[in-house]
Symmetry: C2
Subunit: 356 residues, 2 copies
């Protein structure tokens, strides 16, 4: 018997001795590697339980040649500044932290305008047979097909940005759009004088995950329905199909002209900068504006004071957490939260700098 190697295995050896088996048997049980009779397995498991044996993660990954590959399926960012770049930043940060544990990440992008690209990329992911998947279930029918395939292969998947209920997901990482709408309502309610009206503006062209917009609007109305003291305020809803079209822009300015008591505007998605541009050009003043998402165009108008509040849902953190969740589940074998709502941040000119 080699004395030296036995020293290295002291911990396992302890267990082996107590169970009256060999070291090899013990680590077969520990790593679930079969080739052990049920009786000895049970005996060993009980002893391990008593000792509270904690395997050393570093030695483990060092010795193991196992690698994990995670696949991402996300919408393609429309421009270098647009929303979907943000989660990617978080993904990269997570990757930096965990790549040493033998983790690879493959990013697959689909076009938000074309469900076929979603299917194509989903197919590629299935083919590559990853250990875990992160996806934004943008197209719900296609997503259902994809996850049923994943379920068949016992590949865990994490939803990001949008959720699908009752889907055996490992986790959902994202926002609570309804609450974010309620919050926007409160802020506007506080920021405009009594008896003024509020305009709810949908820029709906680029159907950037419509469900969120609907939820935000619902939350917004919910606030004014339940807070009776604010009941005097009138709400007006306006849908703008193409914010670049002059006719559409006129729609807005007309609305404002015919309703001079409108003192607050709520834009349900990240495209508040279209409105801000219009306000800047037409020199309208005295209107509080609230929108979503910390993207560069919006930041500029926030600094200028044309947009008063931005509500933001930490997209970088969503990307980061999605990856880390898979990691914790697969590598660390920790319990993970089935639902993980990111915080709903209120950003103004004053605290902007601290959300980099």
């Amino acid at each position: 018997m080699n004395i030296i190697k036995a020293i290295n295995r002291t911990r396992i050896k302890d267990i082996a001795q107590k169970a009256n088996v060999s070291i090899g048997t013990v680590d077969r049980v520990i790593h679930n590697r079969g080739e052990v009779s049920n009786a000895t397995r049970d005996r060993i498991l009980r002893i391990i339980d008593e000792m509270e044996y904690q395997p050393n993660l570093m030695a483990s990954t060092l010795a193991s040649k196992k690698t994990f590959s995670f696949a991402l399926l996300l919408p393609e960012p429309i421009s270098p500044e647009s929303y979907w770049n943000k989660p990617m930043v978080g993904v990269r940060r997570a990757f930096q932290e965990i790549q040493q544990y033998g983790i690879n990440i493959n990013i697959h992008l689909f076009k938000q305008s074309d469900a076929n690209t979603f299917n194509t990329e989903a197919g590629k992911i299935i083919e590559s047979n990853p250990e875990g998947v992160v996806l934004a279930p943008f197209f719900s029918r296609e997503s259902m097909e994809f996850i049923s395939e994943l379920k068949k292969r016992a590949i865990p998947y994490v939803f990001i940005d949008s959720n699908i209920k009752d889907s055996d997901k490992l986790s959902y990482i994202g926002q609570n759009s309804f609450q974010s709408g309620t919050l926007a309502a409160k802020l506007l309610d506080f920021s405009v004088p009594e008896n003024s009206s509020i305009l709810v503006l949908h820029f709906a062209k680029e159907r950037d995950n419509m469900n969120h917009l609907v939820q935000r609007e619902k939350g917004f109305y919910e606030y004014f329905n339940t807070n009776l003291t604010s009941g005097k305020k009138k709400l007006i809803t306006l849908e703008i199909s193409d914010p670049n079209d002059i006719a559409c822009q006129n729609q807005i300015t007309d609305q404002l002209k015919s309703n001079p008591e409108v003192k607050g505007i709520f834009v349900t998605n990240s495209q508040v900068y279209y409105l801000a541009r219009l306000i800047e050009e037409t020199n309208i003043s005295g209107i509080r504006v609230i929108g979503h998402d910390l993207i560069n165009e919006n930041i500029n108008f926030l600094k200028k004071g044309i947009v008063d509040f931005l509500i933001c849902q930490r997209p970088e953190e969503q990307g980061y957490k999605a990856i880390i969740t898979l990691f914790e589940h697969l590598v660390l074998k920790k319990e993970v939260n089935n639902e993980n709502y990111t915080s709903i941040d209120i950003i103004t000119k004053e605290n902007l700098d601290y959300y980099k």
Copy 2:
């Protein structure tokens, strides 16, 4: 020569071959372990640079018996619910993540009312000769002494909560109190009608790091000085020495009675719950209240709608980041930010749940 071991060292062997030296020499250079002539050291360093050799952190910590001990010097929490418990939560989380790298954390607490306890604990820390220190420089003279001792021993230190300029600190993790005051001002400015007055309330008894309070007030006034459109609002400042004293409470109610146009109150520290209690008891309504810190007492009043906004600076994250910063500097040998301001969060009843 043992063939097998040579295989294990392939990467370093590559370098050794190119530099025409032995494997041992290379790892001496890599780990700065001396016993290498300057000429060969330089040659090897150049080659390492070209190869972009990245040491494997896991193998490294596994083989190394080196352990790091970090010492913390923080104010003792006054109650189980009070502010200074929060950073501790973050510290524990950080510890969970990095303890496997051989890191110990020793927590030293001092009494906020007694600078001597600060000195005693600081002495103990010096004696224990840790690899890194996190401290809240609550007492500035005593802190200066302490850090000069640390500097002598080349022990890096991270400030948390408060900063000391020009102190050769490794990093500062904390809030920007001035900006947080500005932000509070904006929110109140938006939330009260024009021509109303605003009351700034200091609960100054427990001198919980006075400097922050001063900075917040400065920021608050700064906002109203620069935003001329809001110039019509009158600001009143009131200092309350003992919020439990009835005379002091009357001071507040008197102030509100004699100035019925006060429609907003800003409490500069976490003790807004004293005011909220008073408001609740006396059934005053129609006043917007803004305070600091997400502690349980405040949360209750936020939910009840008596406090409208809480401004919060993520104390858990401050604790977490302080530890991680030391870790990154000492173990990962990464560059760390010299100043790290945590985000200034606005919390209302509506988004409270997402800041757990």
